[in-house]
Amino acid sequence: MSSPVLEIRNLCVDYGVGATAVRAVRDVDLTLHRGQVLGLAGESGSGKSTLAYGLTRLLPPPGVVTGGQVIYHPPAGAPVDVLAMTPAQLRRFRWAETAVVFQGAMNSLNPVHRISTQLLDVLKAHRPTSTAVGRRERAREVLRLVGIPTDRLDAYPHQLSGGMRQRVMIAMALLLEPQLVIMDEPTTALDVVMQRQILGELAQLRQRLEFAVLFITHDLSLLVEFSDHIAIMYGGRVVEQAASDRLYQQALHPYTEGLLQSFPALRGPRRTLTGIPGSPPDLRAMPTGCAFHPRCPYALDVCRSRLPPLGRPADSHAGRTVACWLHPTAEPATGTRP
């Protein structure tokens, strides 16, 4: 259960190089365990998408990874550092081990090619020895998995509805049975009903196929339901990390608290909806100390001058970490969850 599938160590991602560089992800440590769902939440600009694109090395220019390691543990064999791969190695690794479901399926499918072409070229690239019949059969199989009639295989993207398109993207991600699927706001572009439906299906698929998920969203309420663990990002750093139920019951970081208070309670007693005043920090001019202090209702003097380390808080259970002076760490941050 607790063997890791992906370990992110001290990952830093910049936009630009040299004097104009802006650091969008700062020293992020995360561990994703086999078969688990890790949710990554934060406002837009918190660095969560940059993190996902950075670790897969899909970040477009001027993005550059400036440090750290991304260790992938294959089911058999020695761990590999994704950041050290040559383009050829990276090509082989991609989709076979980690697939990505992108935000907005509208633009993720090439409008001029049939669905079949876009499913089959993955198989052709990664399984060159497969037969044409076998590839088509596999494509049908994954469409069935996500509940799309197989006669839509030769449809063009514009002939499908938004929900169908996103399902095709999920089917595409499952083609090679990857160990890890990264989902970047996979349902944001859909209406709420469709969102629920697809998430439900995803949860079932995950149980059947046992892949791990890195789920990125600005919508914390989704994560509370859908994921095992949640990491909260603010200003390019992870500020709190805990099991989802524990995080939902008791948020330690004032930012997490603010996020939780910006949607109505899922169950239990009603809470007042307050939201968070102010706006996310400008990456070019980050506040000193804790990046959240200008918006924090509980800010102390120390928050303005010193950056709180991420670590296990002395005043709480084991199994969670937080970076906040209100909850000083009991032990130096190791970055890994116990």
Binding site: D14, V17, G18, L58, P61, G63, V65
Partner: protein
């Protein structure tokens, strides 16, 4: 009128999403065009031509039409660009001719841009039948070959001076701009601030003047410059084939005389080279300004942020979509064996071994 889905993008590589960012959201950066090296080079060259256009006639050492005994002389200290078959000084002709070229070019540009703004913005903003018919009108003008049309029209007008030619070019070359502007206006119309203005009950013309037009500045100016390029070329072409009146000097008339007096056969290269280079230089300057505007409107086109870059520790890394470079601070154990290992590329250096 149904138009292929992609055509709008063709005209504006930026796509609708980027319209207006230049004006609304960057108050602190006035005249960002001046920061663009291409645009700056273009503007300086353009300024040079403008100065020549104004003071050229005074600078000219000779009367461009005056004949002399130096027939068909190659360039010399006395005649910088040589002389014609009648002994006229070509340098003076080029200097004096600049004014006509710029005057016609910019007049035609202004006429065409005004028409394009009126037709394009009206069509895009009003929609419905007005849009349909204005779109068909501009498409008709777009597909009818402009130069042959100008030729037959000016052949029908007995004496076509500079102003007539400028008007003619302006009246036939507005369609491209109108098309682009219509597309941009259409996308602006759905933007929040325009919707908001409409909701608060501002009048259509007020919305167009204060909300829509300021956000179209880049598109309008790039259309304007495009038309000026076209107008300069057309006017020179018309003069070259002898359609427009050949009495006032411009670069086209120089070429007309060079061609009709068999300058080529006589080896008088100096007769057509200076005028041609001047045209190419002016055209390049205008095109550079337009590149600057394009890059301003659509940041994706900027060359910076792509291509090889140098890292602080002196390595060269290539930016490449799909393979984000990793610039980890070089570590002792990975730095030494780098050469021996002979990797296929130096670009995507692993962070650690």
């Amino acid at each position: 009128m149904a138009v292929p889905a992609g055509t709008v993008d063709a005209a504006t590589p930026a796509g609708p999403a980027t319209v207006g960012t230049g004006v609304r959201h960057r108050p602190g950066r006035r005249l960002p065009l001046l920061r663009n090296r291409k645009a700056m080079t273009g503007l300086i060259t353009l300024g040079f031509f403008a100065v020549v256009a104004v003071i050229g006639p005074w600078l000219a050492p000779y009367d461009p039409g005056r004949r002399s005994a130096d027939l068909l002389q190659p360039p010399s200290g006395q005649h910088w660009f040589g002389t014609t078959h009648l002994g006229q000084d070509i340098f003076s002709q080029v200097l004096v001719g600049t004014r006509g070229v710029l005057l016609v070019g910019f007049t035609a540009g202004i006429v065409a841009t005004l028409l394009a703004v009126v037709v394009g913005v009206t069509a895009g903003h009003l929609g419905g039948v007005a849009d349909e018919s204005l779109s068909v009108l501009s498409n008709v003008f777009l597909v009818i070959p402009a130069l042959p049309l100008i030729i037959i029209v000016s052949a029908a007008i007995p004496e076509s001076g500079d102003l007539t030619i400028a008007l003619l070019i302006g009246l036939t070359s507005w369609a491209w701009g109108a098309r682009v502007l219509r597309a941009q206006t259409l996308s602006l119309r759905r933007r929040d601030f325009v919707e908001a203005a409409r909701a608060t009950g501002e009048s259509t013309w007020r919305i167009i003047a204060f909300e829509v037009l300021p956000n179209l500045t880049a598109v309008i100016s790039s259309g304007f410059i495009g038309t000026v390029i076209f107008a300069v070329m057309s006017q020179i072409t018309l003069a070259f084939i002898g359609i427009s009146s050949i009495s006032p000097w411009n670069w086209g008339t120089i070429l007309y005389w060079a061609q009709s007096q068999q300058a080529l056969a006589q080896g008088a290269w100096w007769w057509f080279v200076p005028a041609g280079l001047a045209i190419a230089l002016l055209g390049t300057a205008l095109a550079l300004v337009n590149f600057g505007i394009d890059e301003l409107v659509s940041p994706r086109l900027r060359t910076s942020g792509s291509g090889p870059i140098r890292t602080p520790d002196g390595r060269t890394v290539r930016m490449r979509t799909g393979f984000t470079p990793v610039l980890a601070p070089a570590q002792p154990q990975s730095r030494q064996p780098r050469r021996q290992r002979r990797r296929p590329t130096t670009a995507r250096r692993p962070s650690r071994e």
